[in-house]
């Protein structure tokens, strides 16, 4: 089976979020970059498990500039066979999806598996767009994925539960928590990653449909009001009369 795993470069989950240039740009100073956790922990690991069990290859693809190469190497260290980087600024989801589709469309992938969203822009957009550009079925928010011959069975999360769907390959699916468990790359994987192919391809020229104009941080919270642990009636009164939340 040939699996494609799109990965995004995102700030580490502990990063302090700040902006620069009149709040028009994310401040990258001091930021540690990682593979988007949903792409890595769930999509990539599940893809590796499927290939380990049934043979095949895992290709990771990133849309971005050379600053993404270290996180792409991390994906290779985890076990992906090869990597592709489409060399263009990933200005919005539309551009990312269209560039991935431009690369992938004639490569015969059986499956495209990616995280349900990035922890940076939280779009949940690329998977569905990619499915349309590749004219494939799309299963979003999958917490389980099994493959039997040319048929995949997935659990798609819905509010308050999930539905079990069967779909013929090829397909696009987005992975959420539960699909796989995070792996830590070992020394052998890290060494092997250095010599695995990372191919840089030119962009096809997709144009953005949206533009990020300005960023901001939430207004700071006022100081916490402490309530005597012996007097929970007082807390209930505050929640009812002051906060009006019950």
């Amino acid at each position: 089976m040939k699996i494609l795993v799109p990965i995004s470069k995102v700030p580490d989950t502990t990063s302090k979020i700040a902006f620069t240039d009149g709040d028009s740009k994310f401040n990258e100073e001091g930021i540690q970059w990682i593979v988007n956790p949903y792409d890595e922990w769930y999509a990539l690991v599940r893809a590796l498990e499927l290939v380990e069990a049934g043979g095949g290859t895992v290709t990771v693809i990133n849309v971005g500039d050379a600053t993404a190469d270290p996180v792409i190497r991390k994906a290779l260290a985890l076990g992906a066979n090869e990597a592709v980087r489409v060399d263009v600024n990933p200005s919005d989801s539309y551009v990312i999806a269209k560039e991935i589709a431009a690369y992938a469309n004639d490569k015969g992938f059986d499956m495209v598996l990616l995280g349900k969203e990035t922890i940076s822009y939280n779009g949940s957009e690329v998977g569905g767009m990619l499915a349309e550009f590749m004219n494939l079925p799309y299963i979003s928010l999958a917490s389980k994925l099994e493959v039997n011959g040319d048929t995949a069975t997935l659990d798609r999360s819905i509010e308050g539960g999930s539905e079990v769907v069967e779909v013929k390959l090829p397909l696009v699916a987005s992975a959420s928590k539960g699909m796989a468990e995070q792996r830590i790359p070992n020394m052998r994987g890290i060494m092997a990653a250095r010599s695995k192919p990372l191919t840089v391809v030119p962009a096809s020229g997709a144009e953005a449909k949206t533009a990020y104009v300005k960023y901001g941080l939430p207004a700071p919270k006022s100081a916490v009001k402490l309530v005597d642990p012996e007097n929970m009636d007082e807390l209930v009164r505050l929640l009812h009369e002051e906060a009006k939340s019950i």
Binding site: Y94, I119, P137, S140, G160, V164, V165, P229, I246
Partner: protein, 323 residues
Amino acid sequence: MSVLIVVDTKNGEVKKSSLEAAQYGASVAASLGGEAVALTLNANNAEVLGTVGVNKVLNVTDASVSASDPQKVVAAIVAAANKVGAKVVVFAHDSTGKAVAPRLSAKSGAGLVTNVTSLPNLASGFVVSKNVFSGKAHADVNILSDEKIVSILPNAFGVKAGEGSASVEAFSVDVSGINSGITVKEVKGGNSKVVPLPEAELVVSAGRGLKGPENWGMVEEMAEILGATTACSRPVADIGWRPHHEHVGQTGVAIRPNLYIAIGISGAIQHLAGVNGSKVIVVINKDPEAPFFKAADYGVVGDAFEVVPRLNEAFRKFKAANG
């Protein structure tokens, strides 16, 4: 210029997140001087959309047109948008919006913004605010294409239903030519009476401070008294004390209820990212230095095993007195 709102249903009833999206769409239609039209998927109570300002409803009555098969929903949306001349399509950013909206964007070339928390500013284009960095920040995004798609963060606006009625007409769309090969085999738990986390207005959540899964009884009791939904922190889901779907935070579910009660959760930055959109946060923790207190509106420094039963009693008394 009319606005089309995509409205999904659960057991034939309009989803709460869709009702909120419909209200948003009606506001956008009013500022554009157009009509608010809802496309409902197999709704039995579509007329309820009139109470949030929708003028007209096109109701698809074909069970195969569902979010499980996004290509069919996209076909229905394209047909409906053409029929009413819609240039803006509105979704709720729930499981339906996530499955369908991106596909529509790629098919139509209309720019999409998800996780939207504001009405559009039309003074310099079509600029909406959205949450980014898992709620640690927000961004203003301009949609550059003529046709626009927005997907609304559930609970960002709340529903204020008023008077008003919408005309409902059946809308048929031919999807026989679409074969995506998707078959739904089974639906698990989707009919539960518990309000799903992203839609919940009251959430009671607990973490490692509870010491073990056997101690969750008092948390579930609180949820039951309040009619709240239960949640948990990531470590608790990872060690298997609670199911993964209860995990709220940066890599779990992001929520913005009216009230979030956190018990025995220290408040790591990744947890805060998923819950800091909550309107009121109550933190119960025995460690006065727990970082969560900085993000809280109300705090109780005390042992959860003493405080929570006392609070449950107080809630019960309040409910008895206030119905």
